[in-house]
């Protein structure tokens, strides 16, 4: 009986891995079809993410795909966070997949992990495989020095995207990042421009210590101190809608009045709004409470369009065109003038947003 079960388990695992590879190789075609527009979130991302340590499989697969004749393909190894992490990451991954494809002259291998050690392992693997460029969105800011030195010694050029790391800038060619503080400042500036009679703010924070939380929180707390705004509660909901709902609910229960909810991502804003709806408190353009969110998820921009929310700040996940440009410059022998490139990011106001914005910027 046990033996039978064990055999079945092994068979099931083999099946799963075959399916995983199949999904991966099928993916390149549809992703390549629409380079400019936002690629549809692909299932391959999931299957690969389930086995993040399986970079070797991904490599062979990429090599098998590459036509034997074209030796000029630029080999890039891309280390990213798990695409399931958030809508931001899904869009980011789809964007990278769409740009770094064979049609654009790239041979790309992907490795996903939310853990720094696993990412470092993947990086070492890529260096051994002799990639030309290593693109990195590090899970953690520290611990990258030695592996980047290895990369340099082996002539692998490193480009950071989305997140910076604590390493000597000479170890990487460029970093393309979002300025979370600037995102926060833009939102707070917008809030200031509303000229409310008084500001009683519920501040819902992301996971404490994350770059997005620090940047977006600091922007609010500093301006609130300068302007004399009243932050009635400042609490972390860990990017989680239900936790945000509970926090707002507890403020409503306590009977304190508030007129602004500053949520550091869209999911938490969504949870906060659900609590307001349950208590019959109006929100949005014609409502009593102003709702601010971040990350420009499609659903959030639709809420803006409907006037249920007031403001949404962009956190631009589309770095691949910037990276592409840098690689092209380096390949043609040029030099990069700026080491750190901060991406253009926008803020959307419910009163001015259009359907076109929703379609273009929604992730």
């Amino acid at each position: 009986m046990k033996k039978k079960l064990a055999l079945m388990m092994v068979a099931a695992m083999t099946m799963a891995s075959v399916v995983g590879c199949g999904g991966g190789s099928n993916d390149a075609a549809p992703a390549a079809a629409d380079t400019e527009t936002e690629a549809p979130a692909d299932t391959a991302a999931d299957t690969e993410a389930e086995a993040p340590a399986d970079t070797a499989a991904a490599d062979t697969e990429a090599e098998a795909e590459a036509p034997a004749a074209s030796g000029e393909l630029i080999k890039v190894g891309i280390i990213n966070n798990d695409p399931n992490e958030s809508g931001y990451r899904t869009a980011n991954d789809a964007d990278l997949k769409a740009t770094f494809c064979e049609e654009n002259g790239y041979e790309a291998s992907f490795a996903y992990s939310l853990k720094n050690e696993e990412q470092i392992n993947s990086a070492q693997q890529f260096i051994q495989d002799g990639v030309d460029y290593l693109l990195l969105s590090a899970a953690d800011t520290s611990g990258w020095d030695s592996v980047l030195q290895d990369a340099q010694a082996n002539g692998v050029k490193v480009i950071l995207f989305d997140r910076t790391i604590d390493a000597d800038p000479s170890l990487y060619e460029a970093s393309i990042v979002s300025d979370m503080r600037a995102e926060g400042d833009k939102a707070v500036e917008w809030l200031k421009s509303q000229n409310l009679d008084e500001y009683n703010i519920i501040h819902i924070q992301g996971v404490m210590g994350s770059a997005a939380q620090i940047g977006r929180s600091d922007a609010l707390t500093e301006t609130a101190a300068d302007e004399g705004w009243n932050i009635i509660v400042s609490q972390t909901a860990n990017w989680n809608a239900e936790e945000a709902q509970q926090i707002v609910q507890s403020v409503i229960d306590s009977g304190e009045s508030f007129n602004v909810i500053y949520a550091e991502n869209d999911n938490m804003a969504q949870g906060a709004v659900a609590a307001l709806d349950a208590a019959g408190i109006t929100h949005g353009v014609d409502g009593d409470v102003k709702i601010l969110g971040f990350d420009t998820n499609k659903f959030a921009l639709e809420e803006l369009l409907a006037g249920n929310w007031n403001y949404d700040g962009q956190c631009n996940p589309f770095q691949s065109s910037y990276i592409d440009e840098i690689i092209k410059t380096l390949e043609s022998g040029g030099t990069i003038s700026e080491k750190t490139i901060i991406m253009d990011e926008m803020g959307f106001d419910a009163e001015t947003i259009t359907q076109e914005d929703v379609d273009t910027y929604g992730i």
Binding site: K2, A41, T90, Q235, T236, E242, Q245, Q246, Q270, A274
Partner: protein, 360 residues
């Protein structure tokens, strides 16, 4: 005469301390007293009108009943798993994500911002139950047949579950716009009490009836206390263990439905995050042994509401975000130490000694 009545009180206390109800009840009374003294408005219940135009009850006690219900439902399944398998299922949060994601996938039929439901909610829910029970059975098989420790066996689903959940919906974030779907995690029109509380009450009634009219309790405890003697007495320990995981799967599906209904959407990476820890804690707070055997369902459920009571209290007093887990930890350590069998024994011995002294 006087001595006799005093020793009566001593005996009463020593009996009380040994009762399983003692710890959760004490915790509840302490939390309630603290809030009553600090701010009696904590217990204020009022009637407000929600945005759908229904009169509903509002106030912190209602919020506790509302949000604690999910945990209470999970505590039912976790108590059974703990009792039968001598270990805990740590994949509950991931399994909630799977169930929730599957239910949304069924309802929106692959269209991520569908405005109409593709099937009745009850059908989607029942299918969700089947899926969650299958995943529960998977855990159960690993534990029962392969004799893997429950925490290690469920680690598999804990790691992979959220990716599977995302995969059901092609990694999109489906939004259900149909108003009836939000009733489950909110209020049914005309009923002023939150629906999740009703669902929890139904679950509690069902499990009470099952425990009363079937041999589930006897069999589960028998397997948990001594698997070999249970087998020698004609029970099938593997089947009982799998059954406990399947029942937990059912609880998970119910919680998944409530969770996705609350915001009519899902976020795979954070939905029901760390809820397994709270569910295990609820079982421990209920004075149940985490190494299996005899169990008390009622105290586990009380434990769940106490955890929510604590969370709501911490929110109420605006404990800073950075310190929130630390505060929770301090209270949890106190409660768990108090409910540890050795400590309980020590206190009951102390009571006995006092009784002897009084008698002398």
């Amino acid at each position: 005469m006087q001595n006799k009545s005093k020793s009566g009180i001593g005996a009463f206390f020593s009996r009380l301390v040994r009762q399983q109800y003692f710890i959760p009840l004490t915790a509840l009374v302490l939390l309630a007293l603290f809030n009553l003294i600090a701010d009696p408005a904590f217990f204020k219940i009022s009637i407000t009108t929600n945005s759908a135009g229904n009169a509903v009850l509002a106030g912190t006690p209602i919020t506790i009943l509302d949000y604690g219900s999910e945990l209470a439902i999970l505590a039912i399944g976790m108590t059974l798993v703990t009792a039968a398998s001598k270990g805990q299922d740590i994949s509950v949060g991931a399994a909630v994500a799977i169930a929730g994601s599957f239910i949304l996938r069924m309802l929106c039929g692959g269209d991520s911002s569908s405005s109409t439901l593709h099937m009745p909610i009850i059908c989607a829910f029942l299918l969700g139950c089947v899926v969650a029970m299958l995943f529960g059975a998977f855990n159960g098989v690993l534990v029962a047949f392969f004799k893997i420790q429950p925490m290690i066996a469920t680690l598999i689903l804990y790691t992979a579950g959220r990716s599977i959940a995302a995969w059901f919906n092609n990694n999109e974030l489906p939004i259900i716009k149909d108003a009836t779907f939000s009733y489950i995690g909110g209020f049914i029109p005309g009923v002023p009490i939150p629906t999740p509380f009703f669902i929890a009450v139904i679950c509690v009634i069902v499990i009470t009836l099952v425990l009363k009219f079937t041999n589930l309790r006897l069999y589960t405890e028998a397997v948990g206390i001594n698997e070999n003697s249970a087998r020698l007495n004609g029970l099938n320990p593997a089947a009982i263990k799998i059954l406990s995981f399947v029942i937990l799967g059912l609880c998970v599906a119910v919680v998944g439905l409530i969770k996705v209904s609350r915001v009519s959407s899902i976020n795979y990476s954070v939905i029901a995050k760390d809820i397994e820890m709270d569910a295990i804690l609820a079982v421990a707070l209920g004075g149940n042994s985490l190494s299996g055997g005899k169990f008390n369902m009622a105290t586990s459920i009380m434990g769940a509401y106490i955890i929510q009571f604590l969370t709501q209290t911490l929110y109420k007093y605006k404990v800073p975000s950075e310190a929130l887990p630390a505060y929770k930890a301090v209270v949890v350590i106190l409660l768990v130490v108090m409910s540890a069998p050795t400590v309980r024994e020590y206190f009951s011995n102390l009571m006995k000694k006092m009784k002897v002294k009084e008698a002398a």
